[in-house]
């Protein structure tokens, strides 16, 4: 028990991200409303972003914006700065997420225009399957 | 054996394949179209004939088309066995073409262009099978033949022919993909090659006897064109096709290709020695004996002339496999020879059936009473052909059957000997009544009185083949030589 608790405390961010991921994932595959699926998708993606950002954290590290002249003269202490690489990756991931959301919402409107509903089961009924 | 690299085998295969293109293009000019057909036929025969002396002298002509798998090229090779078959096929094709022209034009059949084009592709594939240097090439041409004959079988475009076409493809493609292909792969995995080698390639491999037995079954059943029961049902069904197609299917190409493939596998993949050691030859002979007897019995009950001929074919095909399965020199020679002898006999019979249909539009034997007197030439040819099939002298069929009998006696297999004799009697029982009814029974229908002989285009081929089957009795030398060469004697 102690061990598990210690593990949770040491890695609570990972636990949190898994929980969020599960919420999003469940919404994506379990919910019947198409908007809900998209919201779930966004939650899923933010969960992944949270995970990546967590990997970049260093205890006691500052933000990855330095003072140019200071660095050029004195160098920099690596331990003082958090890892910038995951941030870069996640900027890209956020853009991708919002792009997909945009496309999906456009398609959603077309679906509504075509079938008059956003409930998956009602649409399937109308399609006749 | 001397291997000579030569482009002629390829030419022999491709000539009719390329002829399909001008045939398709000259749709609106039937005479030109048929001209192409005949030209390709003559060209093919002359190429094959030109290669004959070399093969008789023990040479082998080789041409590699493409290197497709490691150790297994797509390769053509003319050896004695292939030459044997190619000679029969290319010779008879000319007469089939001539006959087709007469038949199709008299009946004013539709889609003649497609018919002749498919025909050209089919004969290419047949020669390809004959000249294949390895199992893969053989498989390739085998499939090509199946697919190119599909339009021929379904030529009539009605529900009946569609059903038969479906049946045909189901049997032929199903068995070749489902049985031959895996068998081929197992052979390749074990031996690392698929080349036809005298004496076989499986002898030295590590395959267990059980696997070998499985392979034998896969091959014999898989080459369903040979019509060994229970994979024979497509053959009677395919009789809905026009008669020249049936004669082509049964006399020249399709079924013979099946038998030829099985013989190839027995001689050059397994090797007689291996089969003899395992005693599988005997099993095989017993197995096909069942086909021989039951197919003959079924033939007796058929009233439709072409169906009767079809069941007769099923029985006769198994003779050839029977001969190979005896694994004695005479038996194997007899099996091989029977390909040629049966081809000449059976094609005559089908030509006659077609001629009768062209002249009188009759399909059923019971309707044909008295017809012989109106069509004496056709009926005479029919008689000659059936005598050859039954195996009486002075007809070619006698030689091959004699060899088979000798082979069975050499091997001391009394059962087989009995089978041969009984089936010959059955042959007589289902052929001779037809002739008898034709000549000696009074016509039952008034329409018979108006019947006249079929046109010359039909008559000439059937006379030639009928006489041919007689000539084979007197001059079987070429085929005998080739058969001996093929068996490495």
């Amino acid at each position: 028990m102690e061990g598990i608790l210690a593990e949770i405390v040491a890695k609570y961010n990972y636990w949190l991200y898994v929980v969020l991921m599960m919420i999003g994932f469940y919404a994506m595959i379990g919910k019947r409303n198409l908007v809900k699926k998209l919201l779930g998708m966004n939650i899923f993606q933010t969960a992944i972003i949270l995970f990546f950002v967590s990997t970049g954290v260093k205890r006691g590290g500052g933000i990855p914006i330095l003072d140019k002249y200071k660095v050029l003269e004195h160098g920099v202490d690596v331990a003082q700065v958090v890892n910038p690489l995951p941030h870069v990756l996640m900027l890209t991931a956020i853009v991708v997420a919002v792009s997909i959301t945009g496309v999906a919402l456009a398609i959603l409107q077309r679906i509504y225009r075509e079938y008059g509903t956003l409930e998956e089961d009602e649409i399937l009924e109308k399609v006749g399957e | 054996m001397e291997n000579i690299s030569s482009v002629w085998p390829l030419a022999a295969v491709v000539i009719s394949l390329t002829a399909a293109i001008p045939i398709l293009l000259s749709e609106r000019r039937p005479n030109l179209r048929e001209g192409w057909t005949l030209l390709a036929g003559l060209g093919k025969l002359s190429i094959v004939a030109a290669l004959l002396p070399g093969v008789m002298a023990g040479k082998r002509y080789v041409f590699t088309i493409a290197e497709v798998l490691p150790g297994v090229p797509i390769q053509l090779r003319v050896d004695a066995m292939g030459m044997f078959f190619a000679l029969v096929a290319s010779f008879l094709w000319i007469f089939t073409s001539l006959y087709s022209i007469g038949y199709m034009r008299t009946l004013r059949e539709h889609d003649q262009t497609r018919y002749f084009a498919s025909f050209a592709v089919a004969i290419s594939a047949t020669i390809g099978v004959a000249f294949s240097a390895n199992l893969l090439t053989l498989y390739l041409f085998y499939e090509m033949l199946s697919l190119s004959t599909y339009p021929l079988v379904t030529h009539e475009r009605n529900a009946d022919s569609r059903a038969s076409g479906r049946k045909y493809l189901t049997y032929i493609l199903g068995t070749s993909i489902g049985l031959v292909l895996p068998a081929m792969l197992i052979v390749y995995a074990a031996a690392g090659t698929l080349d036809f080698t005298t004496g076989g390639i499986l002898a030295g491999t590590t395959l267990s006897p059980a696997t070998l037995a499985l392979l034998l079954i896969l091959f014999v059943a898989g080459f369903a064109k040979a019509g060994v029961m229970p994979f024979h049902a497509w053959l009677p069904a395919a009789m809905v096709a026009p008669t020249p197609v049936s004669s082509f299917l049964h006399g020249v190409a399709v079924v013979k290709v099946g038998v030829f493939s099985i013989l190839r596998v027995i001689f050059d993949i397994f090797g007689p020695d291996l089969l003899r050691d395992l005693n599988y030859g005997v099993v095989l002979t017993y197995f096909v004996s069942i086909t021989i007897l039951s197919a003959s019995l079924i033939a007796l009950t058929q009233d439709n002339l072409k169906r009767r001929l079809a069941y007769s074919t099923v029985a006769q095909l198994s003779y050839m496999i029977l001969g190979a399965g005896m694994l004695t020199a005479a038996g194997m020679t007899g099996g091989l020879l029977h390909i040629a002898m049966h081809a000449f006999g059976k094609i005559t019979l089908f030509f006659c059936a077609g001629a009768i249909y062209v002249a009188s539009h009759k399909k059923y034997i019971s309707e044909m009473d008295g017809l012989g007197r109106r069509m004496p030439i056709t009926y005479a040819a029919f008689f000659l052909g059936s005598m050859s099939i039954i195996g009486l002298p002075p007809f070619g069929g006698f030689i091959s059957k004699w060899k088979l009998v000798v082979g069975a006696a050499e091997g001391g297999q009394m059962v087989i000997l009995t089978v041969l004799l009984v089936s010959s009697l059955l042959n007589a029982a289902y052929f001779l009544p037809i002739v008898y009814r034709g000549f000696f029974m009074p016509p039952r229908e008034a329409s018979v009185a108006q019947v006249r002989e079929a046109p010359a285009f039909c008559l000439v081929p059937l006379c030639v083949t009928a006489l041919g089957s007689m000539a084979l009795f007197f001059y079987p030398d070429i085929f005998l030589r080739l058969a001996h060469l093929a068996l490495g004697e």
Partner: protein, 90 residues
């Protein structure tokens, strides 16, 4: 259906959690992620690009190829929405 979804979710979550057991504790400055690539960026980026915002430096230059495609992604999104949704003007 919902039960199946729940099951799939739980299984996925469980596998992901199982995977985290080998991770270094959160925020550990000695973890591989913090010691393999990132020190290079932190130490050299300013010198090599004269950009003090490390994220911008890495985004724009070291991983500029990613960012190029990121731009293309959003561009595609715009085009896709226009092509899917916009109706021709009357």
């Amino acid at each position: 259906m919902k039960n199946l979804a729940l099951l799939a979710t739980l299984v996925t979550g469980a596998i992901l959690l199982y995977g985290t057991k080998d991770f270094a504790p959160w925020g550990d400055p000695g973890s591989p992620a913090a010691t393999h690539l990132s020190p290079y960026y932190i130490e050299n980026a300013v010198e090599q690009t004269h950009v003090p915002n490390l994220v911008t430096a890495v985004l724009g230059d070291y991983r500029g190829y990613d960012t190029m495609f990121e731009t293309v992604v959003i561009y595609c999104a715009g085009m896709a929405v226009v092509s899917v949704l916009r109706r021709p003007k009357r």
